[in-house]
Subunit: 152 residues, 2 copies
């Protein structure tokens, strides 16, 4: 399996694990020099923290491990298009490449919504690759919300 | 002194304290039912965390104290116009009113840049009040960057 797909598999596994914890199932992985330095699922409910989206959780963990808040040269894999908040956080962290699975027309901030990386107030834009495992990423989310609707 | 000015005074004090720690001097205060539930300065350098802007640091602290990630009914005071990341975080936290000091044409995301609260991908917008103690808020930032430039 090509490395990019392997890293997205890990992000998908983090998404599924997050769903089992009752969190919206989104997962993210930070890769530096071909090695996974951090992976995380959404933790907003667990931590009572609206900023604990998978991307930010993974970036915080990676920065802690690397000992530098700037992750220049690192790549981020995430199952869903980042929201506006995460798109900006990814920029601040100087992520080199962003790979995401499914698009998010309602909440995304990369190829939808504010399209942050195309704005003059964005001072670092990662290269963006989308559509990696997009149907699986979307299916995990759809199944989660379907189950929640069916709960009594 | 009217309460709004008193809370902004506290945010300015947090900004000054952050500057003394070598952080970009921005401060924020979360107020719920007329009481300060959290106040914080920028902590990005200290925590190696690009997301530890004053607003997010204060929101996280407030959510921890309140035991709920949604701070419905709470107001946030911050010395500088929030950036795109913080504008979205403030929306996610369901902040009722946002009071900020100086505008930030280069990095702001409320009345500059992406103007997040006016976008269809923004699902909760606080009421926004700007210009509170704006010259002092701006002066604290200008003095900080002037000193840094003058350092050998």
């Amino acid at each position: 399996m090509p490395p990019a797909n392997r890293f997205m598999e890990l992000a998908l596994a983090e998404a599924e694990a997050a769903g089992k914890r009752g969190e919206v199932p989104i997962g993210a992985v930070v890769v530096l020099d071909g090695e996974v330095v951090a992976s995380a699922g959404n933790r907003t409910r667990e931590l009572h923290d609206v900023t604990a989206h998978a991307e930010i959780a993974a970036i915080r963990l990676a920065a802690e491990r690397v000992g530098d808040e700037r992750l220049s040269g690192a790549d981020l894999y995430v199952t869903l298009e980042p929201c506006t908040m995460c798109a900006a956080a990814i920029s601040f962290a100087r992520i080199r490449r962003l790979y995401y699975g499914a698009e998010d027309p309602k909440g995304g901030g990369v190829d939808n919504g504010v399209r942050f990386y195309a704005q003059p107030t964005c001072h670092h834009a990662p290269e963006v690759y989308s559509g990696l495992s997009e149907s699986r990423a979307a299916d995990i989310l759809k199944a989660f919300f379907r189950e929640r609707r069916e709960e009594p």
